[in-house]
């Protein structure tokens, strides 16, 4: 399964490197959202600093929807879904490979988003350990849930509009936990940051396990 995951992740990252959707479309989108939040909150840096955690993760979720949509649209193109079913790759391996690729793309977007937040919202990073663990655990959870719901939405008639409706409610716990953990790390929360990070870890493990278990039937049905 891990061999299959490596093959699929390598292919997906190569496709992304070639098409540059994340660089040419998602990163400008991230920048636009950061600036729009700034305009909406009247460039009040004190308010922006307070809201940074939530704004950061809302932006990550919006970006994730775009990346997930793209990642599964390419698998629906020109008979690739059938080719994957005939390929001999295990369904669990394909799921893990897609999740790994999404994880890598999201981490790059989060790094750029973090720099934007520091520059535009005048945020001073602190609590590096908690920030990093939270980011990795939350991103893993988003990638796993996205890989689970991506093919589900890709198989539906109104797939372009349905994915956000399906995925965002599922990711609400990630938004809550990651925002709270970030607030604690940045010194603005009421504490318990590591518990929130642990919750994110559990979320990621649950969705990774679920994905490996149910991706086979999902691949057959969509």
């Amino acid at each position: 399964m891990l061999r299959d995951a490596r093959i699929v992740a390598g292919k997906d990252l190569r496709l992304e490197a070639r098409s540059r959707v994340a660089v040419n479309q998602v990163l400008p989108f991230v920048l636009a959202v950061v600036l729009l939040f700034g305009f909406a909150l009247d460039a009040d840096t004190a308010l922006l600093r307070r809201a940074t955690s939530g704004l950061f993760w809302v932006t990550v979720l919006f970006s994730a929807v775009i990346i997930v949509q793209r990642s599964f649209a390419i698998e629906r193109h020109d008979g690739i879904n059938d080719a994957l079913r005939l390929s001999g790759l295990s369904a669990g391996g394909i799921f893990l490979g897609k999740a790994a690729s999404l994880f890598c793309q999201l981490v790059i977007i989060e790094l750029v988003l973090g720099l934007c937040v520091i520059v535009f919202y005048d945020v001073t990073p602190s609590g590096a350990g908690l920030l990093i663990v939270t980011t990795l655990a939350a991103t893993l959870g988003i990638a796993a849930a996205g890989s689970l719901y991506g093919p589900l939405a890709a198989g539906l008639r109104n797939r372009d509009t349905l994915l956000p409706l399906l995925l965002l409610p599922v990711l609400a716990p990630v938004l809550l936990a990651a925002s709270r953990a970030f607030e604690t790390a940045l010194g603005r929360g009421v504490g318990g940051g590591w518990q929130w990070a642990a919750m994110l870890g559990i979320f990621a493990v649950v969705y990774l396990t679920l994905g490996v278990a149910v991706w086979g039937p999902l691949l057959e049905e969509t």
Binding site: I7, G79, R85, G88
Partner: protein, 255 residues
């Protein structure tokens, strides 16, 4: 104390399964047909696209499926590939009952349909290497597969989106060949190809049958297809209405 190192057991790759399966194909299939369908029914939604098909295909045969649009040719190919489940009847491919396990045979099947199964943003070589790795075959075999479909060197480094329709079909064929399938299922293999490429496809089909693979293909280009085929099966309304292997030309209904 003597310690004996024992290698941890590992799961066989699809390529290894395919190679080990070659022996069972070589011996077992001499005795039983590669494709064995009895009263096979396949549904597209609620519509019975196949309504009771009886068909036996032996190793090394080249079977042409004829019939009007909507007759059930594509559905029959997809059923044999294990992509759609049999709704009723008995469907056995390469010795595997598809109502029990449709996935086991898939690594041994090569299917070229109306679509290419290629990623637009990968080069031809990257695509073929990906499908080779996926099947557990050495990625270096991609070059040999591309040589067989006579795709020029300069084309191999182009992304698929830049290829002509004919070049895409050749690349798709290479992606199928690299997996060394035992059963070739081709849906309109001549479509979109120039005369030279059509000759190439015919040559590859003949070569496959000579080395023991089985080919079932659907085509509307009957003159060319009938010259290649060793047997002609006509499908209409989801059933076999004529079979050239039967002495009377009527479908073989033997149990």
């Amino acid at each position: 104390m003597v310690t004996v190192a024992v290698a941890a057991p590992r799961a066989a790759t699809p390529g290894e399964i395919a190679q080990s399966h070659e022996w069972s194909v070589a011996f077992g299939l001499l005795m039983s047909p590669v494709v064995h369908l009895r009263a096979a029914v396949a549904l597209l939604g609620r519509f019975p696209a196949l309504a009771g098909v009886d068909l036996d295909v032996d190793a090394g045969e080249i079977v042409l499926l004829r019939g009007p649009n909507g007759a059930g040719k594509t559905t029959l190919l997809r059923l044999c590939a294990g992509l759609i489940p049999p709704a009723r009847g008995h469907v056995e491919v390469l010795g595997v009952d598809l109502s029990v396990d449709r996935k086991a045979i898939r690594p041994l099947i090569g299917l070229m349909g109306h679509t290419t199964g290629l990623y637009d943003d990968l080069t031809v070589m990257e695509n073929v290497q990906f499908w080779a790795r996926a099947a557990g075959v050495d990625a270096a075999d991609a070059t040999a597969a591309l040589d067989r479909v006579e795709l020029a060197e300069r084309v191999r480094s182009l992304t698929v989106e830049r290829l002509s329709a004919g070049q895409r079909r050749r690349a798709s064929l290479a992606a199928m060949l690299v997996r060394r399938p035992r059963l070739w299922l081709l849906d309109e293999p001549h479509a979109g190809l120039d005369a030279q490429a059509r000759d190439l496809v015919d040559g590859l089909i003949g070569e496959a049958a000579r080395v023991g693979a089985t080919v079932i293909f659907a085509s509307h280009e009957l003159d060319r297809a009938e010259a290649v085929a060793s047997r002609r099966v006509t499908i209409d309304g989801g059933t076999v209405v004529q079979d050239s292997s039967s002495p009377t030309g009527a479908p073989d209904r033997a149990p």
